[in-house]
Symmetry: C2
Subunit: 192 residues, 2 copies
């Protein structure tokens, strides 16, 4: 029992620390435009994207692994903060690695290693699961921007070309059907 | 292609509608006490609870199915609102069923049926996966309350006995190890 309690002390310390992700504010505004999205609710929204868009994933993608990655993918932002896709990113990768060491390090060693491996796989974006997860992470914000009338595109004074290079390329790589659907909507927005 | 686009029109309408869950405010405050939790970030937090506490689930529980349920479990609150566990609940089940019809009904028929079946299973709380999912849904708020100094217990003037009946019973049913860990902490809080 005391073994069990020490194990749960560690897991619960991690889960309460993770609660801070609800206070990390992203560049994107929610679909109604009323306020900026926080990273915890963004992470939930992405898991729902994965579940809902699973039929449009490439063959061999395991949606449950994609969902696990998406649950964990932004926990490092508790320490490293959000990096707006249209903002600066100097030193971000190093900061995030340090954050991953600390945050996953709160867990029992076997689970820390399991979560870290999933996060590393996501970051490397080389496996089919990680490539699809990354595509969804790029696909969600433009859909919020289209819903709220411009959002981070307007705030960052972004051109259509920049959206196509920084966002479109990664969506098209992992989810070409989603990009085919989104691309004309982006064109129509910037043609207003 | 136009088949694909009609399919994606439906899935994306659902995903943008789902964004409204970020504006449903719960009785519970976040761990830092600074503001009330919204249902979208609560749903994410629960998926992380499932992933992290998986080693404490009963034999036969499939964590990836639990996670899918938890992603979907509160979507009905977009229409039906949150029901504080210590508040009134008149007519809530009927409202939620109507909400489920409308919200899952935005999806292509096969996926609507799949999501609805998962939500019905969660609500019924009869399968091992649903019982564990329900336990986590009850286990998270007291941990936030303990972190923020009382939270919804203080707001609703709740006694220790009420917590043990309304929350403890369901946690103990699906996750006895979690209840063993939490129960003395609740006793210590109410003994202050």
């Amino acid at each position: 029992m005391s073994q069990d309690h020490a194990d749960l002390d560690a897991r619960m310390a991690f889960l309460i620390e993770a609660d801070r992700l609800k206070s990390v504010i992203r560049a994107t505004r929610n679909a109604d435009g009323a306020r900026h999205e926080n990273t915890a609710e963004h992470s939930w929204h992405l898991t729902l994207f994965a579940l809902t868009l699973a039929p449009h994933a490439s063959e061999g993608v395991q949606i449950d692994r994609v969902i696990r990655m998406l649950i964990l993918h932004d926990l490092v932002e508790i320490d490293a903060g959000d990096t707006p896709i249209f903002g600066e990113t100097q030193g971000q990768a190093a900061d995030e690695a340090v954050a991953a060491d600390r945050i996953f390090g709160l867990l029992p060693a076997d689970q820390a290693a399991e979560f870290r491996a999933l996060w590393d796989e996501f970051e490397a974006a080389e496996t089919p699961d990680a490539i699809f997860a990354k595509s969804l992470d790029r696909f969600q914000p433009p859909n919020l921007n289209l819903s709220n009338g411009g959002g981070s595109w307007t705030d960052y004074n972004v051109t259509e070309e920049t959206v196509r290079i920084r966002v479109g390329t990664q969506i098209a790589r992992g989810a070409p059907a989603l990009w085919d659907w989104l691309s004309p909507r982006i064109a129509a927005f910037f043609a207003r």
